[in-house]
């Protein structure tokens, strides 16, 4: 079934067309984005049950260009009577005296737009509303009970899931685009005590679609509990550089944090990335081909057009080890003289658009995981990444991973280290990749920030990879 468009957006559409016309009459360029995002978040644990709205938003943002200068105005409601006030608010912003002496203003030409009329929606099998809150919480409670019953050493077992459905309408002089999208995320977390510490294992689940995802969560309960119990015997990491096998989630974090942020082209505009100097050069092993794009995979960051009305792309960022291009929002493309790639994304209507990743991943290779492990003389198998931080200017990498399993003479020894910090110079790490497994998996339960804010839904992943990495 197709996701139905928001009744709110449908009702407001005539007003939005009038607003678009008023803005286009007043300024050199103007666009309107309307957003209606609904959702729910369910969570059960040993001591708590909750249901909340999750990340929802409803409102509008207009962007206008006049005499080379851009301004944006975000607001929550629109009526026929407030249309002139919106135009006046934008005019006031464009005329505002905000720059102290000595600071200048950047000048832009209007974007060239292809006339586009589009309406699209993603598919789902099971509507969250058809299941109902009680059924969803009952199913999560059943997962929790199974997890808690597995071992009395389990301190807590958390099962959560959320769905999010949004409709966006983008209007400019030449574009009239509507999309309706739904995705679901979920996960299970098992906690166990190790002296004064609490160790947690987490297995995520996510996808484009509806509540059919819940069935996939069942299989994660037992492995999650087993891993949490294993972590109670973990040791502190011995700092050093190791041959490592990364699971697809850890690969995803490396793809995203290590390289993805470095090819966001608003960073090129600011001279905050090394990547422009490496276009056409080897930055990774010839085994590596990297994609980003809202239509490059079906996951939580899949959409038909971005928040600036640019159609979704499948951008090949690295092709067999050679850096080909970056990813771009519209305003950065105007500055750089390049084509936007459908990566202009906002946290919500209330926030600015930046160049943001979508579904970011490495293509699979041809190796078998068991052969990859068998090839390691002494090293670590890394899994359960928890967070990462970018450093596009200096291509440093920081990824926090919860589990490093010791490999000795090609076999897992059962010895576990936790937590682990991955660091290094990104091209060194990517060039050290010597094997990639024959399947890729993407995961999209997380959000990506720009620095420490502007959270948007992304997915990332790839195959198991073998690389040389500094761990601490």
């Amino acid at each position: 079934m197709k996701v139905q468009p928001s009744a709110f957006i449908v009702e407001k559409r005539p007003l939005l067309l009038r607003l678009r016309d008023a803005l286009c009459g007043a300024f050199d360029y103007a666009s309107v984005l309307a957003e209606d995002t609904t959702g729910k978040y369910y969570r059960v644990s040993r001591h708590s049950v909750s249901v909340d709205e999750g990340d929802t938003a409803r409102g509008f943002v207009v962007k206008a260009l006049d005499k080379g200068r851009y301004a944006e105005y975000s607001f929550s409601d629109l009526t026929a009577e407030t249309i002139p006030a919106v135009v006046d608010a934008v005019r006031a912003l464009l005329a505002a005296d905000l720059r102290p002496a000595g600071l200048e203003g950047r000048a832009y030409a209007p974007p060239a737009e292809e006339p586009t009329v589009f309406s699209g929606a993603t598919d789902y099998d099971i509507d969250p509303a058809s299941l109902g809150d009680g059924e969803i919480l009952d199913r999560l409670a059943a997962l929790r009970d199974r997890g808690l019953a597995m071992d009395e050493a389990v301190l807590d077992f958390i099962a959560w899931m959320s769905w999010q459905r949004y409709t966006k309408l983008f209007l400019s002089r030449d574009k009239d685009m509507t999309q309706s999208v739904m995705f679901v995320t979920g996960g299970v977390t098992a906690a166990a005590r190790k002296d004064q510490e609490v160790k947690q294992a987490y297995l995520p689940c996510s996808g484009l679609g509806g509540m059919e995802l819940m069935e996939r969560m069942e299989a994660n309960v037992a492995p999650c509990v087993r891993t949490a119990l294993e972590l109670t015997h973990s040791e502190s990491m011995i700092p050093g550089t190791y041959e490592c096998i990364c699971d697809p989630e850890t690969t995803g974090m490396i793809v995203h944090e290590a390289f993805g942020h470095g090819v966001e082209m608003d960073m090129f505009v600011k001279d905050r990335a090394q990547a422009p100097q490496f276009i056409g050069k080897y930055v990774a092993s010839p085994l590596v081909t990297m994609h980003d794009g809202a239509c490059s995979a079906e996951q939580t960051a899949t959409y038909f057009f971005d928040d600036e009305g640019t159609p979704a792309h499948d951008t090949v960022v690295i092709d067999k080890g050679v850096l080909k291009t970056g990813i771009s929002d519209l305003q950065s493309a105007l500055t750089l003289g390049t084509e936007p790639t459908g990566n202009g994304r906002r946290e919500s209507f209330a926030r600015k658009a930046y160049t943001r990743m979508t579904n970011t991943w490495f293509e699979p290779g041809q190796d078998k995981l068991e052969d990859m492990i068998a090839s390691v003389k002494y090293g670590m198998y890394l899994e359960c990444p928890s967070s990462g931080m970018e450093d596009p200017k200096n291509w440093g990498i920081q990824c926090m991973v919860d589990i490093a399993r010791e490999i000795k003479d090609g076999k897992l020894t059962g010895r576990i280290f936790s937590p682990v910090v991955l660091t290094g110079y990104v091209p060194d790490l990517l060039k050290s990749i010597t094997a990639m497994s024959d399947g890729a998996q993407l995961s999209g339960t997380g959000y990506c920030g720009k620095g420490h804010k502007e959270w948007v839904k992304v997915s990332d992943g790839g195959p198991y990879i073998k690389a040389t990495i500094r761990l601490g």
Binding site: S45, D77, T79, P100, P239, K270, D271, R272, M400
Partner: protein, 422 residues
């Protein structure tokens, strides 16, 4: 508000918390010294939390769910979203707890230096303060984002609360760049409730100086165990261990072993940290007055903080949510904390503290290695430690540092921390 109250009455929802928030935010985005974009966000949203008492298996329960009411919603749509929340609340079956009483008071106006001034005027002054530090040729502001906000909050509850307040602040981020000898950058954030122009200029000057030092840092420190000195924003992150573990939810759910009246550093510890949770809002989310909360006294836990549910389960009074920490200064001058050998870590990619495990660490973007009579800038590698292992090996500076979320010692020296480096 009247439409919401009427719909709640029709549902028979007798317990609720209604929170109206309005934000007017003026925003500017700079690339080098050029204004790239001007934004204004004038947004409003109302959250309605409904609480539904019921019995399950003979036990008294209280379910809770949330609805969001948005400007422009008609009566029918408001009724619909509240009905859905009321329906959902019966499934969020948690043991019953009482909702805290609130107060009814006149609206509180912000008394800070931004209050009453046009946002544009304050924006211009704070922008000038930031760029006043940007005077050198070899190191400069690469980019900056400034957000000048006026926010109003109105809380009405079924338990008698009717309070509202306004808050002005400026927050933002900036990136410093030093192109030679190695082209590097550093990232910084700020947040002020008053027009502290001198403080912003000084912070930016400090940040630019650090960036110049990072450009000189050629190598990572050697792998090994170090006396580590942390300072400024890392102090609040580090202290997050004690704040996290003293939360009612963490204690009730047995994630935290902290107990009222016991020393958080362990049963055999003598003395320890003194810490107060500082109120940054005048009222709690339930419309009760919010005050500073003494948390630790020489290592002994004096309070548990958290919302009404877990507080009731633990038999303690509910508090509001705290994000700011205040601590007395230490006794050792910072210069002595930097006695060699030590690694002074001034900037991380993302310094983290996990209250569950006590682990802290991050990738080192800039540090200074004090050894053999020299001070060497270093970059790269990672710091990794556990506060459980080193809480009795922490020495705090006599100098103070203050930010929107921290007021306490400028720096701490921690003995025996692992560094993965060259």
């Amino acid at each position: 508000m009247e439409k919401i109250l009427s719909a709640l009455d029709a549902l028979g929802a007798e317990q609720y918390v209604i929170t109206e928030k309005h934000t007017d935010s003026l925003e500017t985005f700079y690339v080098k010294k050029a204004l790239d974009l001007t934004r204004r966000a004038d947004t409003a949203v109302t959250s309605v939390r409904v609480f539904r008492p019921f019995e399950k298996d003979g036990a008294k329960m209280l379910g809770e769910a949330e609805a969001t009411v948005r400007p422009g919603m008609g009566e029918a749509e408001i009724r619909s979203v509240l009905e859905r929340a009321w329906y959902a609340a019966q499934f969020a079956a948690n043991p019953w707890y009482p909702l805290p009483a609130g107060v009814k008071e006149p609206a509180k106006a912000d008394k800070g230096g931004f209050a009453g001034k046009p946002l544009a005027e304050s924006m211009k002054a704070m922008t000038a303060a930031l760029f006043a530090a940007d005077t050198a040729d070899d190191v400069f502001l690469n980019s900056a984002e400034l957000f000048m906000r006026r926010r109003t909050t109105h809380v009405v509850t079924s338990q008698g609360a009717d309070v509202s307040w306004e808050q002005y602040d400026v927050w933002g981020e900036y990136v410093c760049q030093c192109p030679a000898p190695v082209d590097v950058e550093t990232y910084h954030q700020f947040n002020y409730r008053d027009p502290e122009t001198d403080a912003l200029t000084a912070d930016a000057a400090h940040a630019l100086a650090l960036t110049r030092a990072r450009a000189q840092a050629a190598a990572a420190p050697r792998t090994g165990t170090y006396s580590l000195v942390l300072d400024r924003e890392q102090m609040r992150t580090l202290m997050g261990y004690y704040v996290g573990r003293s939360g009612a939810g963490m204690i009730y759910q047995k994630y935290s072993p902290f107990r009222l009246g016991e020393n958080v550093h362990g049963p055999d510890a003598k003395g320890g940290l003194t810490m107060t949770l500082a109120a940054t809002e005048p009222y709690t989310g339930f419309g009760a007055p919010m005050a500073d909360l003494p948390l630790l006294d020489n290592g002994v836990l004096r309070a548990i903080h958290g919302g009404p549910r877990f507080a009731h389960y633990l038999g303690v009074a509910p508090t509001g949510e705290y994000r700011a920490v205040a601590m007395p200064a230490g006794t050792v001058p910072r210069s002595q904390l930097l006695a060699e050998p030590c690694l002074h870590a001034v900037s991380f990619s993302d310094f983290q503290m996990d209250p569950l495990s006590g682990h802290f660490g991050g990738e080192l973007r800039l540090g200074f290695l004090y050894e053999n009579g020299t001070v060497t800038p270093v970059t790269g590698g990672s710091v990794s430690g556990s506060i459980l292992d080193c809480h009795d090996r922490m020495t705090f500076s006599a100098e103070r540092y203050r930010s929107a979320v921290y007021d306490g010692p400028l720096a701490v020296r921690i003995e025996g921390v692992q560094v993965a480096g060259a």
